[in-house]
């Protein structure tokens, strides 16, 4: 670490903590044993602030701020787990469930899914929003991987890992808002992709069963996310 980085102090959940001035609230919270729920964030990828699960309250600011995107500042007073935040996180998660067709019972990632486990963690007993039941395609054109839009939460981890780590940028997002969808190349079938290197990183960073290895049956698709910090570290050593 360069010696020019300033050390500041702030308060997270009534606890005084020290941090480097360029760190995010999420990083500092984790270093100090404060757990903030996240869905789109993954260590080793650039934060995108898309899922909103990590929102926190900062004294003096009326808006909620995503902990993964907000850098700390001197004297900041952060609350990560108020009743209001707990309720909002539950609502956000319910929106994930209502927006696509997440049927855990018949999912390859059943038992390994971060969305499923998060529902348990934030004590989401049911979805009180009406389900949308959209018609979603399953792209099974690739000979090694399957992309099931029914189970996608648009966290963009796959897009970021393909771009930032693998350097292929095969995956991207088309459309906006509720119409948004993961695409491969110029919205062609994945099996026809000329840029996909078949590395499989997208599958292993996917928090749900939206990206799986071909042939996986219910409850078989565990993911190996631990590959990522290692790859990122190696990349940093190289550059």
């Amino acid at each position: 670490m360069s010696s020019s980085v300033n050390i500041i102090t702030l308060t997270i959940d009534e606890k005084q903590v020290g941090a480097r001035e360029n760190q995010t609230i999420l990083e500092v919270a984790r270093e100090n044993g404060v757990e903030i729920p996240t869905m789109c964030e993954l260590k080793g990828l650039t934060p995108s602030g898309g899922c909103r699960m990590c929102v926190v309250e900062v004294a003096g600011i009326p808006k909620l701020l995503p902990a993964c995107m907000t850098t700390v500042s001197e004297g900041m007073v952060v609350t990560t787990n108020s009743e209001r935040l707990k309720k909002l996180r539950k609502n956000i998660l319910e929106l994930f469930f209502s927006e696509r067709n997440h049927i855990c019972a018949v999912c390859a990632s059943n038992g390994f899914c971060e969305l499923q486990l998060m529902a348990q963690k934030v004590e989401m007993s049911h979805v009180h929003y009406p389900y949308l039941y959209p018609h979603c395609e399953v792209d099974a054109s690739h000979n090694r991987f399957v992309l099931d839009h029914n189970r996608c939460i648009l966290c963009t981890r796959c897009v970021r890992v393909c771009d930032e780590i693998e350097g292929s940028h095969t995956l991207d997002i088309k459309g906006r808002g509720i119409e948004a969808q993961v695409i491969t190349d110029m919205d062609q079938p994945w099996g026809d992709s000329e840029t996909c290197t078949l590395c499989g990183k997208c599958v292993h960073v996917c928090p749900t069963g939206a990206l799986i290895e071909r042939g996986m049956a219910v409850g078989e698709m565990s993911k190996r996310k631990q590959l990522l910090p290692y790859l990122t570290q190696m990349r940093e050593v190289k550059t």
Binding site: H102, I103, A105, Y131, H135
Partner: protein, 176 residues
């Protein structure tokens, strides 16, 4: 202590949750100490009772008959438990929800059958446009997730309710 009454029923479900209930094995005797099972596929009673303390309701709501039934159940029941993922989320029955009803019938009665060329339109409950979770129609008191919920969780929930407590299910039950 006075015994509570218990009803169990499945609507658009596979009976898997009931199988899991039966999996409480010999603990069924403890259940029987706390509850009289007055209506269930396991007992031979045809009419849903006018008054019941606890109802385990398995399955999604998929037909006009289900809607009628779930309203009747709610009216008669003190503590209504959405029993399993189909009741809580509409789960597997909801996989038809993004298809047109006429395509669902075509698939169910014509395309997958070799010796039938008729779609029945009488004597059967009318299928709703979608399969819905129970709480879409009536208030639910306890959401018991799982496909199916484990026998341990079911037993725990029934005991807690019998003891007058609210079952703490977030650590014991999850979707799937």
């Amino acid at each position: 202590m006075k015994k509570l009454t218990l009803a169990t029923i499945w609507l658009d479900g596979c009976s898997g949750c009931h199988m899991s209930f039966v999996d409480v094995d010999e603990r069924i005797l403890q259940v029987a100490e706390k509850y009289d099972i007055i209506f269930s596929p396991l007992v031979d009673v045809k009419e849903f009772p006018e008054k019941v303390d606890v109802t385990l309701l398995e399955g999604a709501i998929s037909t006009d008959e289900d809607v009628e039934m779930v309203k009747k159940i709610r009216k008669s029941t003190k503590t209504l438990i959405a029993f399993g993922d189909c009741a809580v989320t509409s789960n597997v029955p909801s996989m038809r929800n993004h298809y047109d009803l006429k395509d669902v019938f075509k698939r169910g009665y014509l395309e997958t059958s070799t010796d039938n060329d008729v779609i029945p339109d009488e004597m059967l409950p009318k299928l709703l446009d979608k399969a819905y979770p129970v709480h879409h129609f009536v208030d639910v008191d306890v959401f018991l997730q799982g496909c199916p919920p484990s026998a341990d969780t079911i037993f725990y929930a029934l005991v807690e309710i019998a003891e007058g407590r609210t079952p703490e299910l977030s650590k014991r039950a999850r979707f799937g």
